[in-house]
């Protein structure tokens, strides 16, 4: 294999890659030694707390901080005035971290204090006098689109042409009435994807199924709350220790919001207790820096669980309509959808992503998806694993499940008949290269779970899902230690076992033991810019950069061996952890092991290191197929997941255990989304269930062992064939469980979550109609 190849050569034989060693951060995490965001402390640090709006929508008439400032022990009080708008900063982020004139949702930050201890800080918050004028609010996406709805940002959004504010007129075949919103509406954008002639396609259909669906907002549910320690010195140099998925993003955004030079802010990421997309933006970090700047001391801010729910980004809630037409043999002839996602108080819901993913699993000649981005009085949504895709898949895969039932077709066969494959023009535009949906469907059909005979009140569901996967800016350094072991510096936060995977890749490239490589996550002053750990990009991008950095090091080590032997550099090759003389010199010298080269590094030219920086591209898309068996208690509506199977294309699994972990984690989060999780808002627009007692995420006793099958259809854009694996697994579960329930008791859930009272009510409705 060329050492400096620009084009990936697909490697198919491995020694280290594909094995399952323990993760390097494992012992510390299970023994409590690992340092998470709240575990950092700085000498003389203050406690920072944030005052938050108790109203969903209110004009802030005045803020009086004088009494709080006069309280002994209080070192700083800030409002929006202490974070003035800087040229070029992201205005929505600025407004979200601290309200400016209007509180836009329950929990919106209004002021913050730094004090010598938590008791003083809490007392100071109570002394801040805020005079509000409560405004009308709206939290539901359909209500927010109606004429006369309270307008969140008067005059901000351009008028949008839309089919109808009432989806029903579009759905029920009434004459399509196009209207324009007022400039003062809550519709931030309308987006259209697709190709072909949808109306003509539906005329060819033997069967058409269409329905409306709704999903509630769910939180990423990471166990570790947001936490940071900020320290701004009197000379303007600053440090921030923080739990985040993107320390470089935090540095750049905070510097932009606070008017600092980027070089003056050093951000060190902690271990992360879950993020799932929710830690890809800033909330308390610039506030802590502003407090520290004003107080002249380090300030630690740790969110409570209630703050996490009220103020950080859950995913969007949605309201959708989907129509699919098929021939009697199951061939899809047309597909149409309207998706409405609310993204909280600011534009940017993931409706475009949801629209692009909605029908991506299928080869469709005629397809159209219209998406609406809507603002409401809720916290600004944040990314959540495959943002936007699980909701649209819930609707689309639900309709497909019903079509299969009505045609008497096997749920996997109908998907195989229509599956996207290499050469398919995707529903969002581009033509697919090599992809593995068919392989996941075939593996699911062959799995033992698909053959288990079901009992009374039991049912089986199937659903497929798609995610793009991304790459991006990545920078890696590898340093050879004096004893021949290696220090690998990565800039992508480890959110899924990536340090173990990178150590395996380095060991593979060098032909050495996994235990001889130690990977760390570097701070922002130690390594070049790295994009956020998001988009299922880390193993692909950092893996690619690690391969290249190691190959850079190998070239340098071969050069040292050539000097020692007195032969040309190109007459040396690297094999099995050692430099070997090659060509005419083969056998002329004993190989020099990596340990021998390291021992002589100082005497032969100095330290040895490899480095690579790249804006990686070529991440291959990923497909998954899930199969789920459930049992429903017809007397209570309670549901038990009996079996759950995830089959997903990983391209190449570097560390299979952590790939399986991603599959299982996505499935469990999806099961929580479909069965229990939701944001409850009261009539006053305040969140009613801001804690894990009332917002129920799945626990171990709620789910069976999640069975997994790793399909490997190599991605030609990576030297090992790697595809991202972190997000696709959360796309199918919503529909998969809903299809299973329909199969079990004949009730098709179209509103999530399918909590027992809803299932029971639907069952009673079915029984009443039979009577």
């Amino acid at each position: 294999m060329p050492l400096d190849a620009n084009t990936p050569d697909l490697r198919t034989e491995f020694k280290s890659v594909g094995t399952r060693p323990n993760r390097p951060d494992g012992v510390d995490k299970v023994t409590g030694r690992a340092r998470f965001g709240a575990d950092f402390s700085a000498p003389g640090q203050l406690v920072g707390l944030v005052l938050r709006s108790p109203h969903a929508h209110a004009k802030i008439k005045s803020i009086d901080t004088s009494a709080a400032e006069a309280l002994p022990g209080v070192k700083a009080v800030i409002t929006y005035k202490d974070i003035p708008e800087q040229a070029g900063c992201d205005k929505d982020v600025l407004v979200n971290i601290m309200a400016r004139g209007t509180a836009l949702y329950d929990g919106h930050a209004v002021a913050a204090v730094a004090a010598t201890d938590a008791a003083v800080a809490r007392k100071a918050l109570k002394l801040i006098k805020v005079e509000y004028k409560v405004l009308k609010h709206v939290t539901d996406v359909d209500e927010a689109m109606k004429p006369g709805a309270p307008v969140i940002h008067p005059g901000r959004f351009e008028p949008v042409e839309f089919e109808s504010l009432e989806t029903a007129s579009h759905v029920k075949g009434k004459e399509e009435k196009k209207t324009k919103t007022r400039a003062g509406s809550n519709i931030a954008g309308r987006y259209v994807f697709g190709h072909g002639d949808v109306d003509k396609g539906f005329k060819q259909a033997d069967i058409i199924v269409e329905h409306e669906f709704k999903t509630e907002a769910t939180h990423q549910g990471y166990i570790e709350p947001h936490a940071c320690v900020a320290s701004v010195s009197t000379d303007g140099m600053a440090e921030l220790w923080v739990c985040t998925q993107g320390p470089f993003m935090v540095r750049d955004v905070c510097a932009s919001l606070l008017g600092m030079d980027v070089s003056r802010l050093r951000v060190t990421p902690s271990e992360i207790g879950g993020g799932f997309g929710g830690k890809t933006t800033v909330f308390i970090e610039p506030v802590a820096l502003a407090l520290s700047r004003k107080a002249g001391k380090p300030v630690k801010v740790v969110m409570s669980r209630s703050e996490v729910f009220r103020c950080t980004g859950p995913t969007s809630s949605s309201s959708m309509w989907v129509r699919i037409g098929a021939k009697k043999d199951g061939t899809f002839v047309a597909a149409d959808a309207v998706l409405k996602y609310q993204g909280g108080a600011f534009p940017g819901s993931p409706v475009e992503m949801g629209a692009m993913c909605a029908f991506a699993c299928y080869d469709l000649r005629n397809v159209r998806i219209v998406g609406y981005d809507v603002v409401t009085n809720r916290p600004k949504q944040a990314a959540y694993r495959a943002p936007g895709a699980p909701m649209s898949a819930f609707a689309v895969e639900g309709v497909i499940g019903e079509i299969a039932e009505k045609l008497g077709m096997d749920a996997i066969d109908i998907r195989l008949k229509n599956a996207a494959k290499e050469g398919t023009v995707s529903s969002y535009g581009p033509t697919f290269g090599p992809v593995g949906l068919v392989e996941t469907l075939e593996a699911a059909k062959a799995h033992k779970n698909y053959k288990v005979k079901l009992g009374k009140n039991q049912g089986r569901g199937v659903a497929s899902g798609f995610w793009f996967n991304f790459a991006g800016n990545t920078c890696v350094s590898i340093n050879l230690n004096v004893d021949g072991t290696l220090a690998l510096a990565l800039g992508t936060v480890d959110i899924g076992g990536s340090r173990a995977s990178m150590c395996l890749i380095a060991a593979e490239e060098l032909g050495i033991s996994y235990d001889d490589v130690r990977a760390i996550i570097a701070d922002t002053s130690s390594l070049g810019y790295n994009d956020i750990s998001e988009g299922s990009r880390v193993t692909f991008s950092s893996g690619l950069a690690t391969i290249k950095a190691v190959r850079d090091l190998k070239v340098r080590m071969c050069g040292r061996a050539a000097k020692i032997w007195g032969i040309p550099e190109d007459a040396v090759k690297w094999e099995n952890g050692a430099a070997h003389p090659a060509g005419a010199n083969a056998g002329g010298f004993d190989p020099l092991s990596i340990k021998e080269i390291a021992a002589q590094a100082s005497a032969t030219g100095g330290p040895l290191a490899g480095h690579y920086e790249v804006n990686a591209e070529g991440a291959g898309p990923s497909f998954a197929t899930h199969v789920c068996d459930v049992e429903v208690d017809p007397e209570t509506g309670a549901m038990k997941v009996l079996r759950y199977l995830v089959v997903q294309d990983a391209g190449k699994a570097i560390h299979p255990s952590y790939v399986e972990g991603q599959y299982q984690g996505g499935a469990v989060q999806g099961i929580g989304w479909v069965l229990n999780e939701e944001y409850f808002y009261g009539k006053d627009g305040t969140l009613q269930n801001a804690g894990f007692l009332d917002y129920r995420i799945p626990v171990c006793s709620d789910v069976p062992m999640i069975d997994t099958v790793i399909v490997e259809v190599p991605n030609p854009g990576h030297p090992y064939g790697v595809r991202g694996v972190g997000e696709t697994s959360i796309v199918p579960p919503l529909a998969c469980v809903a299809n299973a329930v329909s199969s079990a008791i004949g009730v098709r859930a179209r509103t999530l979550p399918m909590s027992p009272p809803k299932v029971l009510a639907a069952l009673e409705g079915v029984n009443a109609s039979k009577a």
Binding site: R190, Y191, A386, P430, G433, G618, E727
Partner: protein, 81 residues
Amino acid sequence: MLKVRLGGTLVNKAGGRTEFEVEGANIMQMLRNLGRTCPELEPMLKKGVSVAVDGQIYRDAMLQPVGPDSEIILLPRMAGG
């Protein structure tokens, strides 16, 4: 000439037009010429878009070569979780 198709938000900004023909040997040149042809797109192009070239999505690789036979589709800037 390159054939460039638009998707999503970009279609709105381009007044409903979905396809353009512009010159360019790489993504950067193609986007620059597209902005000149359709100034309404310029702010969005500067803010950042994703470009699918022959099925491969590029978020930032401005120097990626493109040719008359390339399938080029402009998509909204994408991000994951």
